[in-house]
């Protein structure tokens, strides 16, 4: 099992390694814009609680960015499934299906962490105060896992790139803005807020911000994320097995 996970991860690592400079460069663009627009432009004079808006903003950007990167790391599986059919090699291999899913998720987590590291460096360059602890990294990983699973599930279920980008537009994009990333959800209307507070990204945002500002950690949020991760894995497994129908 471990060997197979490594094989699946190895494949993604080979591909990533070849494109690493391009990958890093392109991953700098969006966070850079957020930092400039919201951190410097809009946020220079905004005070949130005790710190600067930049300190408030950076954990949110890390949450939404790791979500986007890990989701989009696994959407190419859709073309590998439908057009290239290269998934077939894994299905006929003497390998447990879970090894495939775990290997893919780990590869997505790696991409998510690389881009998070990029943001961290940028944010520090912009003068943010961050308190990065092992727990902070742990939450980030959990967030990557959840959205890698969403990406995996979507890639197994959707029949075109068009549909996959709709998930981006209708699910990920709204979450990017609303889940406590750029502003506190406390200002939202009650009913709306209730809905937003159920979403995993909201929990990630608050957890990362809490850790970063050295506030007490909301354990129930960690539990919520863990539940999402488990459900995501089960759904991913089912979607992969459905390929055999």
């Amino acid at each position: 099992m471990l060997q197979d996970i490594c094989t699946v991860f190895w494949r993604d690592w080979v591909v990533l390694k070849r494109r690493l400079p391009k990958f890093i460069l392109s991953r700098m663009v969006a966070p850079m814009l957020y930092l400039v627009a919201f951190g410097w432009g809009l946020g220079r004079n905004i005070q949130v609680g005790s710190g600067s808006y930049l300190d408030f903003l950076v954990p949110g950007i890390m949450a939404l960015n790791s979500m986007n990167i890990s989701y989009n790391s696994l959407t190419p599986l859709c073309t590998e499934r439908i057009y290239h059919r290269s998934i077939g090699e894994y299905i006929i291999a003497p390998m447990h299906f879970n090894a495939f899913i775990i290997g893919k998720i780990l590869a997505a987590v790696l991409r998510g962490l690389i881009s998070s590291a990029i943001i961290m460096i940028l944010a520090l360059a912009f003068g943010a105060n961050l308190n990065i602890t092992p727990l902070f990294v742990g939450i980030l990983i959990l967030n990557c896992i959840i959205f890698a699973e969403v990406g995996f599930f979507a890639a197994m279920k959707m029949d075109s790139y068009e549909e996959l980008s709709q998930v981006n537009t209708y699910v990920l994009l709204p979450m990017s803005f609303l889940c406590g990333t750029f502003f506190s959800t406390r200002t939202l209307p009650e009913v709306f807020r209730w809905f937003i507070d159920v979403l995993p990204l909201t929990h990630t945002s608050y957890l990362l911000r809490g850790i970063s500002t050295q506030s007490p950690v909301a354990l129930e949020s960690v539990a919520v994320l863990a539940v999402y991760a488990i459900i995501g894995f089960i759904l991913g497994n089912k979607a992969f097995r459905d390929q055999l129908k």
Partner: protein
């Protein structure tokens, strides 16, 4: 070696009225493949050959029916059985983000080969299909025939005991095709069981110990190529008249010659081949 019992595969497809209907791709197929034999599956387009192979290689689940390898059902210990299997798929399925060499390596890794063994086998197989110098190229930059050869090379890296080949020699030039035939024969001589589907009847005739003829998902007949020809009559007379191209089968050359003498137009007398049997069994009966 392989035993198939009452295999059925159904798909949900949309019909002309855009209603979802159930389509049977494989319909109650039962047969045995013996160890070390080259077993051919022949049938027209859409007969269910690929679907059958995909069920045998566990790429898709049967709707109904059982598959046994060495007496053991594939549902019991699929991973152990998958270790024995090599597959040349009908559709080219390389990973387009990996080079040729990396594609081969992925295969070796998936079959838990040691790094040394992997390197050696990859080199060997690439040399064999004369693609040794493409190791650092991307698969999409290869020609159609080169890709096919690469599929064959890849399927053999882990030295499978049972090899499934779904139209392996499509789009290959005659020299290469013959080399692949030699390879298949030598594999079988070493004890590898080969299940092959093909549209080239002469390929089945040249290679296969036994042939199953399938049509519309059903098994029509199963026998040795010689037996198929003999059952029709060993000699064929072909001629053209107002109604089109005609043929008839005879037990001996004398009978055939006597019949040909009665025809107004000239006739061609030749040995019956598997193609005749194939057309007889899958086409002419239904007036196609």
């Amino acid at each position: 070696m392989i035993k198939i019992q009452g295999l059925i595969k159904e798909f949900q497809v949309k019909n002309k009225e855009k209603k979802t209907v159930t389509k049977r791709a494989v319909d109650n197929l039962s047969l045995n493949v013996r160890p070390g034999e080259i077993f051919g599956i022949l049938g027209p387009n859409g007969a269910g050959k690929t679907t059958t192979i995909r069920m045998l290689t566990m790429e898709t689940k049967p709707t109904l029916g059982e598959i046994y390898y060495n007496g053991e059902s594939i549902t019991q210990n699929p991973l152990e059985i998958k270790k024995l299997i090599g597959v040349v798929p009908q559709h080219i399925n390389f990973d387009n983000d990996l080079t040729v060499g990396e594609n081969m390596e992925l295969h070796g890794r998936l079959h838990h080969m040691s790094s040394e063994k992997r390197k050696q086998r990859i080199q060997e197989m690439l040399e064999f299909v004369e693609l040794g110098d493409t190791i650092n190229r991307m698969p999409r930059s290869l020609s159609g025939g080169m890709k096919r050869r690469l599929l064959i090379a890849r399927s053999l890296i882990h030295e499978p005991k049972i090899l499934f080949m779904d139209e392996p020699t499509v789009a290959l030039d005659p020299q290469v095709r013959r080399r692949i035939w030699d390879l298949i024969r030598s594999l079988a001589a070493k004890g590898t069981t080969v299940v092959i589907t093909t549209h080239y009847i002469e390929e089945a005739e040249a290679l296969c110990n036994r042939v199953a003829i399938v049509n519309k998902g059903k098994l029509i007949a199963i026998d040795t190529p010689e037996a198929f020809c003999n059952s029709l009559g060993r000699i064929t007379v072909e001629w053209d008249d107002q109604e089109g191209h005609q043929y008839q089968f005879f037990e001996s050359r004398q009978e055939a010659a006597a019949f040909a003498g009665t025809l107004e137009h000239g006739a061609h007398i030749r040995r019956t081949n598997l193609e005749d049997a194939f057309i007889e069994l899958t086409g002419r009966k239904e007036g196609v």
